[in-house]
Symmetry: C2
């Protein structure tokens, strides 16, 4: 690690609304010569869309395209390759900001680059507004208060496991609902908790949608959707 | 609710570093004629200190002093009184921003004002960077990845309950450690998890402190301290 090397930034850029970026992320975003961001194998990058109004222009962009192949996650070969590409910039003394939707360390893929690069390069992680806070704000629903326990549950958990954990929590945020919507609805109905649950998709974005869970159709939800449950009603 | 009324903002101002405020909170903070913030019964307000570099000047300030009397929490009479004071400004058409450390809806006292005022006034909650993300970033420790479950556990929970919940979680953030430090250390040692646990106080602030839990003395920790545990080592 020499001074001639660039710094790696894991930049939390918030849940979707470009105005929910922090002042710090904004400053760093505008100052770095190289910006990297995740994108699906085909299609546009949400992270880049969030950052777009704030990009300085003339920056080198690295699109981190990661295939979502079941059984090959995280895609180690892919992250090895992008880590190497980012290293070249850092070795040449250029700072690199990796844009992270929400917060870098709450289910963020940045950790796979952090693992590979933080040992060898100066690294700074800048926390961001997570979808958790954005969903609660959009729904007007406090997540937890006082000494309540909050469980953050990925919807892909098995049905029995999901049910057990919801039963054992004062409040839950069920994340990455996507194609697991039916299962989540079924479990909450069985527990008599569907009446008070709220469904939010694309929080803080122009296509934000907020519905009582019972009013949500059974079509697949987008990946960026969440269900909030609080046994004590409105979280207070 | 008429147009002549002011808007109530629950403004997440982040975990401590004034630069971790969002662009949106910054804009609203500078535009409102009235700013309210929590403070201990005696002493300075952390929320005001975070906001200080960004205040427009000439704003009316309401200091929400809440006694931390055991058995009288939340202090309903106190919140009733401040809600009434804020109402007067809203009735007069003045927008009021209530400053919230971290995120307004993650263990925030704003919910007690939200409860009382959101039914009668236009209310907007602006999510903020929570201490959760700030602590993980400071420690360089991903919170959770893939389909891991994250439990957010208040340290005041009873010892057996805390132990049971830690045992049942992939990863935990134990919040509000304060005078419960000894108990938290004892439980994690018993579970053989103290070696990998990290302790952070005042994340993102000038007096930030990050230590392996084992190296933390047994003196009381400050209220704003947290312990992160991940059974799978570094969260990945």
């Amino acid at each position: 690690m020499t001074n001639a090397h660039g710094t790696l930034y894991g930049l939390g850029i918030g849940p979707g609304d470009p105005e929910l970026m922090t002042l710090k992320a904004h400053r760093i975003l505008q100052s770095v010569p190289v910006v990297a961001y995740p994108a699906p194998e085909d299609g546009d990058s949400l992270a880049r869309a969030i950052a777009a109004p704030h990009l300085a222009g003339g920056q080198t962009e690295i699109v981190i395209r990661t295939p979502m192949t079941p059984g090959n996650f995280p895609a180690n070969d892919v992250y090895d390759r992008y880590a190497a590409e980012i290293s070249e910039h850092l070795n040449a003394g250029r700072n690199v900001a990796v844009l992270c939707e929400g917060d870098p360390f709450l289910y963020g893929s940045f950790m796979y680059l952090f693992q590979r690069l933080s040992g060898g390069y100066q690294t700074e992680v800048v926390p961001g507004v997570s979808s958790l806070g954005a969903v609660a704000a959009a729904a007007g629903r406090p997540l937890v208060s006082r000494n309540q326990v909050l469980s953050i549950l990925p919807a892909p958990l098995e049905e029995a496991e999901l049910e057990r954990r919801i039963t054992d929590s004062d409040a839950c945020a069920i994340m990455k609902v996507g194609r697991h919507l039916d299962k989540v609805k079924r479990v909450l109905a069985r527990l008599g908790l569907d009446g008070g649950a709220v469904y939010v998709e694309h929080a803080s974005m122009p296509d934000e949608k907020i519905l009582p869970l019972r009013d949500v159709g059974t079509d697949a939800a987008p990946y960026f959707s969440m269900v909030l449950v609080n046994r004590q009603g409105r979280g207070v």
